[in-house]
């Protein structure tokens, strides 16, 4: 499944985003691709959210893939150590 992340995933948005991504969390049969082409900004709440997705996919033996990370977001992920967890696709 592919989820398109758009805009600024700050702490406020994370709460809403969590609700929006629930369908993803209910599926356990496939990889999840997060397209971040339009993702401008992510904060630690957003990171926590993505972490949950990762844990979820790993739990059911699938992968979580990040796509089209911009420079800033990539740096944040790197700092957070997420690049070791997620697979990157350009």
């Amino acid at each position: 499944m592919v989820a398109l992340l758009e805009g600024d995933l700050n702490n406020m948005a994370s709460t809403q985003a969590e609700r929006d991504l629930t369908p993803l969390m209910e599926r356990d049969d496939c990889d999840i691709v997060l397209d971040c082409a339009a993702l401008n900004y992510i904060s630690s709440s957003g990171l926590r959210l993505l972490l949950n997705i990762y844990k979820h996919t790993r739990a059911n033996g699938h992968q979580a893939i990040l796509r089209h990370l911009d420079e800033h977001v990539k740096e944040v992920f790197q700092l957070a150590g997420f690049l070791q967890l997620f697979k990157l696709e350009q």
């Binding site: 700050n10 900004y41 904060s43 944040v76 957070a80």
Partner: protein, 743 residues
């Protein structure tokens, strides 16, 4: 004169009780005393001369008396002898008759102590070779008549005998001691003899009639009168008295108060006695004296009265003492009189002066209070967010040194809207009127600074006000007004006839082109033009009034604008306060002892940081306000010209901090401020929650795989990674976090 100068000083030191009346009295006394000294001096000189003249007259008349007396005695002898010549010549051939003649002559003339007839050699053929008939008055008064025996020397061959005989002329001899043949059993006398030739029937001079005058006798006769004179004119207490004596043509004393000196001693200064009579100063026997003298003809004797100087001047001295005493009394009277009179007049004046002095002091104090005296570097202004004090954009220092108690110079500055409004000015004139106008202008400047944005506008507004005032004072004010934008460094300025400030940048002077316009208050319809100049961090601006550049030393040399420039350059690396102190010291040194003639005012500004601040934000510490907070930061970053990427990073850091506060600190409100300083953007976050220092808190251990980390530490990592530096302070119950990011 030192006393006068002291009294004339304008300001007496505090604590001295020099009342005005006392000063006036002393001044008058000093003048009167000086006059008295002069008068005494003049009187003394005059009196001295008078004394000398009076003495001369006095002693000369005494001298005349002596002279006459002596001449009388000499004349007596002359007459006595001459009268007998005829009778003697009639009896010339009768040697025995000779004795009767000489006896008679001696008996009849008390002046003559011995009379003798001396004949030429072998005149009487049947008598002795040298025939002398002599009649001598002895000490007891009797007259002894005798023929001098032949043991007497051969007088008839000697010059003293032969000359008068050959010349057939009367003559007086030199003074000599009597021969023992004549003296007989008595002590030889000191004599002088009058010689008259005696002729025989043929008319040939053959003998000399000799009449002796005893100097001893003469001395006794004359000394009496001398004593009378002394008693009359001289006081008995003098060390040296006057006395008189007679000297012969060779200077030998022939009559002297001291008998032993007669004929044995000579007057040393005899050569000074020129002419027949006169007076001369001489040192005689070691005493400075005046010698009054007169010479007696025929015998060529000089009568001298020696008067010690002391004797002459003693009366004069007495007179001087009396005059001085009278003057001293007069002085005392004047003093008492003056004191009283002046007190009546001057004390009201003094009281008035004292009141004025007190008031001047108050004016001075008011003026001081009006000038901004707080020189601590000012933080960026905001009543809402007290910022850390190290964010000072400027260093300012100023001094005003008035020439009199209050000055006509002014300066002012204030901060508003991140702009420094400053001015410096010089009211024409000094003293209280200038100070009042100065106060008006300063207040008005402060008012105008609240609303104006252009320096020329402020100057124009001031001009309107002062021009209106001009009806009463006629003064004008030179001014320099500036508005320095502390965020951009742009200086907007307007000059009104004032000295153009000096600008130092990187150790060099930078020109400030400024149209001079005209002073404020000169014309009410002048259009003032201002200029602008871009200033930089580190620039030092130095403003001053002409009291500095036109300070004079005793040789009337000006301190000079060139010197001001040189010194600004030399001291311009220090703080404004150092620059002003050094400049003041330099001008004091230049002035030396000269009095400061004009007010000296200096204002120096150094730009430390060009900075601006955004109006702070205050929100409740709830998640709903997060956007508000991040928007604020993003806004500030964009204004500061931060790149998009860096803005995002900053936003992240701030969001993490804010989230932490909202979620974990228990704070009720968060306050934020952003500022640009030294090429960095600062964000300051304050909250009233529990004390928490993110700079020292444990960050997430990034070595632990992300999925195994405990939650919450991520924010701190992001904060530290996304920003360049962080500072934390807990102050007045607030967590204060300052975050910096390079631009």
């Amino acid at each position: 004169m030192l006393v006068l100068h002291y009294l004339c000083r304008k300001n007496s030191p505090n604590g001295m009780r020099n009342s005005l009346s006392a000063r006036l009295t002393y001044r008058i006394m000093a003048v009167v005393m000086a006059m008295m000294v002069i008068i005494t001096g003049v009187v003394y000189m005059t009196v001295k001369q008078y004394m000398l003249d009076e003495a001369k007259q006095r002693y000369e008349s005494v001298l005349l008396d002596y002279h006459e007396e002596l001449r009388r005695h000499l004349a007596d002898i002359y007459v006595a002898t001459r009268n007998n010549v005829h009778d003697i010549e009639r009896d010339i051939d009768k040697p025995e008759e000779m004795f009767a003649h000489v006896e008679r002559i001696t008996k009849d003339n008390p002046t003559i102590v011995c009379c003798a007839l001396l004949f030429e050699a072998d005149y009487y053929k049947d008598r002795e070779w040298g025939f002398i008939a002599c009649a001598r008055r002895e000490a007891d008064g009797s007259v002894r008549v005798v023929q001098i025996d032949s043991t007497y020397r051969r007088y008839y061959d000697e010059a003293w005998f032969r000359q008068p005989l050959e010349n057939d002329a009367d003559d007086w001899t030199e003074v000599y001691f009597e021969s023992p043949q004549f003296a007989g059993s008595e002590e030889p006398r000191l004599l002088t003899t009058f010689l008259v030739p005696i002729h025989n029937a043929e008319g040939r001079p053959v003998a000399l009639l000799c009449a002796d005058l005893s100097l001893e006798w003469l001395r006794n006769e004359m000394m009496e009168d001398v004593e009378k004179v002394n008693k009359k004119f001289e006081s008995g207490s003098l060390k040296h008295k006057s006395y008189s004596f007679i000297i012969d043509r060779h200077g030998h004393y022939i009559i002297h108060p001291d008998k032993s000196r007669m004929l044995t001693d000579t007057l040393a200064s005899a050569s000074m006695l020129e002419g027949e009579r006169g007076a001369t100063k001489a040192v005689i026997d070691g005493v400075e004296s005046w010698l009054y003298y007169r010479t007696v003809k025929h015998v060529e004797w000089t009568i001298v009265i020696a008067v010690p100087k002391e004797v002459i001047l003693q009366n004069g001295r007495m007179l001087n003492v009396i005059i001085l005493a009278v003057m001293a009394v007069g002085l005392a009277v004047i003093y008492l009189f003056c004191r009283r009179q002046i007190k009546e007049v001057a004390d009201p004046v003094a009281a008035q002066q004292a009141v004025m002095e007190r008031e001047m002091n108050i004016a001075h104090n008011i003026q001081k209070a009006m000038l901004p005296s707080e020189f601590t570097p000012r933080p960026l202004t905001s009543p809402h967010a007290p910022l850390p004090s190290h964010l000072s954009p400027l260093l300012i220092h100023a001094t005003q040194t008035p020439a009199l108690d209050v000055g006509g110079d002014l300066y002012d500055y204030c901060l508003r809207d991140n702009r420094l409004y400053f001015c410096i000015g010089d009211v024409s004139g000094k003293g209280v009127p200038a100070a009042l106008l100065m106060a008006v202008v300063q207040t008005m400047f402060h008012n105008e600074a609240k609303y104006a944005t252009r320096a020329s506008d402020i100057v124009a507004a001031l001009n309107d006000i002062v021009s209106a005032e001009q009806n009463t004072t006629g003064f004008f004010v030179t001014m320099f007004v500036g508005i320095l934008d502390l965020t951009t460094g742009l200086l907007d300025y307007c000059n009104a006839g004032h000295e153009i400030p000096e600008l130092v940048r990187d150790g060099a002077l930078v020109d400030i082109p400024a149209k001079p316009n005209i002073p404020v208050g000169a014309l009410d319809d002048w259009a003032f033009e201002g200029q602008q100049q871009q200033l930089q961090q580190g620039d030092l601006l130095f403003l001053y009034t002409d009291g500095l550049s036109e300070a004079e030393n005793v040789d009337q040399q000006l301190f000079g604008r060139k010197r001001v420039e040189e010194l600004v350059l030399e001291y311009g690396h220090g703080t404004p306060q150092q620059l002003i102190d050094d400049m003041m010291q330099a001008v004091r040194q230049h002035d030396g002892s000269a009095v400061q003639n004009d007010d000296i005012t200096m204002l120096a500004i150094r730009i430390e940081h060009l900075a601006w601040s955004v109006e702070p934000l205050e929100v409740r510490a709830v998640m709903e306000e997060m956007d508000h907070m991040t928007d604020y930061v993003v806004d500030a970053a964009q204004q500061a010209g931060m790149s998009e990427l860096e803005t995002k990073r900053l936003r992240l850091a701030i969001e993490e901090v804010a989230a932490n506060i909202v979620n974990y600190s228990g704070a009720t409100s968060i306050r934020m401020a952003a500022a640009v300083e030294s090429g960095q953007l600062l964000v300051i976050i304050m909250d009233d929650g529990q004390p928490f220092d993110p700079t020292t808190a444990d960050a997430t251990d990034l070595s632990i795989p992300a999925d195994q980390r405990p939650p919450g530490g991520m924010g701190i990592v992001l904060l530290r990674q996304m920003t360049d530096s962080q500072e934390y302070e807990y102050r007045s119950g607030r967590n204060v976090l300052t975050v910096r990011k390079k631009l």
